[in-house]
Amino acid sequence: MRIVAEHLSYTYDASSPFAARALDDVSLTIEEGEFFGILGHTGSGKSTFVQHLNGLIRLPSSQKRYRPKKGQALPVLRVGEFDLADKKTDFKALRKRVGMVFQYPEYQLFAETVRDDVAFGLKNFAEKGKMPTEEARTEAVKSALEIVGLDYGEVADQSPFDLSGGQKRRVAIAGVIVTRPEVLILDEPAAGLDPLGKKEIMELLHRIHGDWCKTIVIVSHDMDEIAENCTRAAVFSEGKVVMCATPKEIFSDEARLSALGLDLPLVAKLCHALRARGISIDCDDKTEDFVRAVLSLKEGGA
């Protein structure tokens, strides 16, 4: 499903002294099949934006008591065939196809067993009178747990609260992907994990990407994560999209990034340092790619 957003703006607690403008005229298109990154400082509006994509935050025009104002560019938000600016949109159907993993998703686990927790979405999204059979449910839960790298036989009957931090997070992710959403959005999926845990999360996202979920959108403020994994990325700053390009293009504009208070990924730093010493290297900002470029340089030079 293609995601098209135009002129999105959002203010929390409008009309109160706490009013905070979180999004300011955001326009962004995410193509089907992308592994899209959303970058930016804390408070730049990343989470607010992604919560629009499955209707957890509604556009004004999709709310019951809406009176259009004249002379305003109407915001547009389409996800596949769903028009999120329309009151009549079936938001539950939308949420079934656009999965959303919140920041620290392990804090939303609640059931007695891992099996029940993962099956929660499965039961909720079942159409009326078409509750999947016990076997079908078990099958779905099993494959979801396996693709996130957990052993079904081992964890299914445990309490989710007895697992380790990284395992809990993977259970939470399994609980979202179990309904096989076409788009999967993850808000800072690796935040608060150790380096190995981070690596495992990214690996499992690549396993999911493609067959399981066509499009993946991750929110992150880790430059390396974006550089290593994403096909394209958008940089948010103070509620606006200030850049939207491939990681290579984004990280080549060092001056602009540092003006925004953002760092470079390690590989880009190395490339810059080498270039400053007169060694020109052409590569994407991925570790593997960098190694290949350096090796070919070595062979060429030798």
């Binding site: 607690d13 706490f18 949420r95 939303q108 929660f120």
Partner: protein
């Protein structure tokens, strides 16, 4: 935050905001006494005038003040209607039907009652609009200090109150976040029969409870690690101090109380 009508501080700067919280608490008590001492429209009118001036000086928008009234509108209506129909006055009733009758005095009495409740609600909500929860608990602690003589744990009580108040916004936000997370997994909180709806809240309540316990643990550890000890010899970050503003407000309170008592003695009656 979604309409939390508790601890609804309105963050601006005004004469009333700057008053000492202890004085505001005492003023509120005196004011409530005045409302109940006032037994005629003239005295109640004076009370109302004082409150209106206070609202103006507080610069809290009038819409906010009315929002506080909205919460008790049903209570006001019921009280007024009951009084209207069941008050037995002297002379001929204006209207009669079975045991229901409306007397001239009944009408006055109902209006009087409505006014009383309105003043009561507006002045107490004005206190929470103009005083941060922290200042409020500081004020309460300070006013309750004499109870320490009978070994009442005033400081601990105030600490519990301020922590509870401090946690309300955090837990509201947390609730909102968990609710959204479960909604993203297809949870439905709006439809179905009452039993179903209550059950739908389990996926919110359990994570919320766990999170509250975790926060409490962390806060306890943080306090321990900084060697927190309650009770004596603790100094305050913000020392409460009376100033000329408080003197003016105190005089207004005293004058109001005196005026209402005088009017009660010399005017009497409801009219």
């Amino acid at each position: 935050m979604k309409d939390v009508s508790f601890g609804q501080y309105y963050p601006i700067d005004s004469y009333v905001h700057r008053l000492d919280p202890r004085l505001k608490l005492l003023f509120l008590i005196v004011y409530i006494v005045c409302i109940f001492l006032a037994n005629n429209f003239a005295a109640l009118g004076v009370c109302a005038a004082v409150l209106i001036v206070t609202v103006i000086f507080s610069r809290v928008p009038i819409g906010k003040v009315f929002r506080a009234v909205r919460g008790v509108i049903v209570l006001i209506m019921i009280t007024a209607v009951l009084n209207l129909f069941f008050y037995t006055g002297e002379g001929e009733p204006l209207w009669e039907w079975g045991i229901l009758a409306i007397y001239r005095e009944g009408i006055f009495f109902s209006v009087f009652l409505i006014l009383r409740i309105l003043l009561l609600v507006v002045c107490s909500s004005l206190l929470t609009y103009t005083t941060t929860p922290v200042a409020l608990t500081d004020g309460i602690e300070s006013l309750l200090t004499p109870l320490k003589w009978i070994k009442f744990p005033v400081h601990e009580l105030a600490l519990i109150m301020s922590i509870a108040l401090r946690m309300i916004p955090a837990l509201t936000e947390e609730t909102e976040r968990i609710k959204n997370a479960q909604k993203a997994r297809g949870a439905d909180f709006e439809s179905g029969n009452p039993v179903k709806r209550i059950k739908a809240f389990i996926p919110i309540l359990i994570p919320l409870l766990l999170s509250a316990l975790r926060r409490a643990d962390e806060l306890g550890d943080a306090m321990d690690s900084r060697c927190y000890m309650g009770g004596k010899k603790r100094t305050k970050y913000k020392k409460l101090r009376f100033s000329w503003r408080d003197l003016i407000a105190a005089s207004v309170g005293a004058a109001l109380l005196a005026g209402v008592i005088v009017m009660r003695i010399f005017l009497g009656g409801i009219l």
